[in-house]
């Protein structure tokens, strides 16, 4: 390729035509992209099926799961059990691992062939979903809302604006709701003029349905016609190891230790508590990191990671503002501290005043003993 022709227009002949001109008539399906990782459906896909089910019911249209991979086996059925009415699947060796170009080719080809375009399409706000969704949206020149935390269907009356062609009352719009700038506001984002109306959703926000093995549905093959240009990027290696980094993003529970641990050994206790949870990991305050008690990757706060687990257990952390800004959006904050005046109690949800070296072992004990009686429902395959 020479210097000058590198930006020649797309080699593809297919036009970037919109999928539908009139958004709401006829009403399309709800599509949910279910991503796989090492051949397994990711929880976020099941969560989106849960959310998509509600949307589809409100629209009274089918819910379709879209899945691309290789040796899919039981996966389509699993998706149906989790709420899909239909599964669009592409099963091909070149799709074994996610790559932008082959995936977008199959998806865009298939969507472009639909007589009635999907009403909406949901993807996870993951490295895959955020990689793929904008490509599809740009391809069909349709709207896409990132990182939604709520989804709904409802009417929208567009009154003003410079573009008269957009004015009108739109039924059955996708309400894509997300925290907006600074996270103290919620924005409802709408794009009723063109289908599919697209959104990505943060993992852990939506709730999956309990699998129902009696559910049945239709499985449809998507054609796979890859082109040489789709192989401009190759994957040399993918390494997934929980230890490569600290996976704060997917942790339900973070157990964090601070200066109050008094020494590095305290983190063994933190780990023990974190390990009591299905998805638990260890965090730390800057002071503990500075003192060399635990590596930097564990640091939560202004100079570390910003986290929002479902539960944050702060042990021996004073709650200095630097730390607070990194974790205050956690779902539930439980603080354990000897000092009843510790600032952390100003913004924790539950505060235990006591010696963490007594409280934490007790907590471990109680959690472990509760396990026997608890039914564990597994969502992954």
């Amino acid at each position: 390729m020479t210097d000058t022709d590198q930006t020649t227009p797309p080699q593809e002949a297919e036009p970037n035509k919109p999928v539908a001109l009139n958004a709401n008539d006829p009403l399309g399906e709800v599509w949910v992209f279910c991503e796989l990782q090492e051949g397994k459906v990711q929880t976020v896909g099941l969560e989106l099926l849960g959310a998509g089910r509600q949307l589809a019911d409100k629209l009274d249209r089918p819910l379709a799961a879209v899945v691309l991979g290789h040796n899919l086996g039981e996966i389509p059925r699993q998706l149906i059990h989790h709420g899909a009415d239909k599964v669009y699947k592409a099963d091909h060796p070149d799709l074994a691992e996610y790559r932008t170009l082959p995936f977008r080719r199959v998806l865009c080809d298939f969507m472009g062939q639909q007589a009635i375009p999907p009403h909406s399409m949901l993807l996870g706000s993951t490295t895959t979903g955020r990689d793929l969704a904008p490509r599809i949206a740009a391809h069909f020149q349709t709207g896409l809302t990132a990182d939604t935390t709520e989804l709904d269907i409802g009417p929208y009356d567009h009154k003003g604006g410079s573009d008269a062609s957009k004015i009108g009352l739109y039924e059955n719009c996708l309400y894509a709701i997300r925290p907006s700038f600074g996270e103290s506001l919620k924005a409802r984002i709408l794009g009723p003029w063109k289908n599919p109306q697209m959104a990505t959703t943060r993992p852990g926000v939506m709730i999956p349905l309990d699998p129902d093995p009696s559910r049945t549905g239709e499985v449809v093959d998507m054609p796979v016609h890859l082109q040489p240009a789709d192989f401009r990027l190759t994957i040399a290696e993918t390494v997934r190891e929980a230890t490569a980094g600290v996976d704060f993003d997917n942790a339900d529970v973070i157990v964090a230790g601070g200066y109050g641990l008094a020494n590095a050994d305290g983190f063994a206790l933190m780990k023990e508590l974190a390990d009591c949870f299905e998805n638990g990991t260890v965090g730390a305050s800057r002071k503990a990191v500075d003192l060399g008690w635990i590596p930097y990757v564990h640091q939560v706060g202004q100079t570390g990671k910003t986290v929002r687990p479902k539960i944050y257990i702060a042990c021996g952390i004073s709650g200095a503002i630097q730390h607070r800004v990194g974790m205050q959006n956690s779902g539930l904050i439980i603080a354990i501290n000897k000092d009843p005046d510790a600032p952390i109690f100003k913004f924790a949800d539950h505060g235990i005043v006591g010696d963490l070296y007594q409280v934490v072992p007790e907590m471990i004990k109680q959690i472990k003993s509760s396990k026997g009686s608890k039914e564990v429902s597994s969502v992954g395959v």
Partner: protein
Amino acid sequence: MTNSAVKDVFVMIKQVPDTRSKAGLNPDGTINRAQAKRMLNPFDEYALQAALNVKKQTGCRVTAITMGPPPAIEILYTALEHGADRCYLLSDRRLAASDTLATAFALWKTIEHLNGFQMIFCGLQTTDGDTAQVGPQLAERLNLPQVTYCEDFEVVGDKLHARRVVEGGWQRVVSELPVMVTVANSYHPLEFKSLRGARMVQELMRNEALRSQYITTVDLDVVGADPDLTGLKGSPTIVAKTDKVGSIGGNCAMHQGQAVEALVREVTLQTNLLEFAS
């Protein structure tokens, strides 16, 4: 160096409200645009550094491009201070209220107008839009392969060897050029501006003729973009409503003065802690 496959790299940067200082925030957390200071999108700092690192490696030319109102020239000065070679400012009132699709469209047209690059760097996301969409949307328009969440890379011959973040780990990929890369904030932070760059920019600010050698302002007509496909008209989405979100926490239930066992039991009963047990 000069015979590297990479001769021109583009970096897409955006000016955003300054969230680092509290100035310019209304008490309710919304932006007071009149008062707000502006800054280079912090994520774009990594993208800029990535472009400058390619320059260090290959001697290529670095072009910084932004779409924004005229004051956005400030971030182009910043790019020059750090070592960019030339800049383009796409500014046009018809661009107002562009969503990511419309933004990507206008940027695409600008890039086409410039013609000729081997790599495009974008920030992972912006702090005001916060979508991480513009980069991939641009790549789609340009029909490019893309490496998103890139945290390190090297140009090897006529290929890009890159490492990107994936859930719970990382991935090494090899891409043909040209390619669009969005740079993660785990990449090298932006080095401080150079004294030389800072000096040059002062000279540019004084000297319009010199300035125009480094910074070109273009509008939709110059880049040949259909105004109907950008701005409010070209945006398929609109923000219809904003609600305040209640602040989280604040009413701490204190558990104290009992035996540890009872304290912990209180907490496990009053919270959903046990639901997460493995």
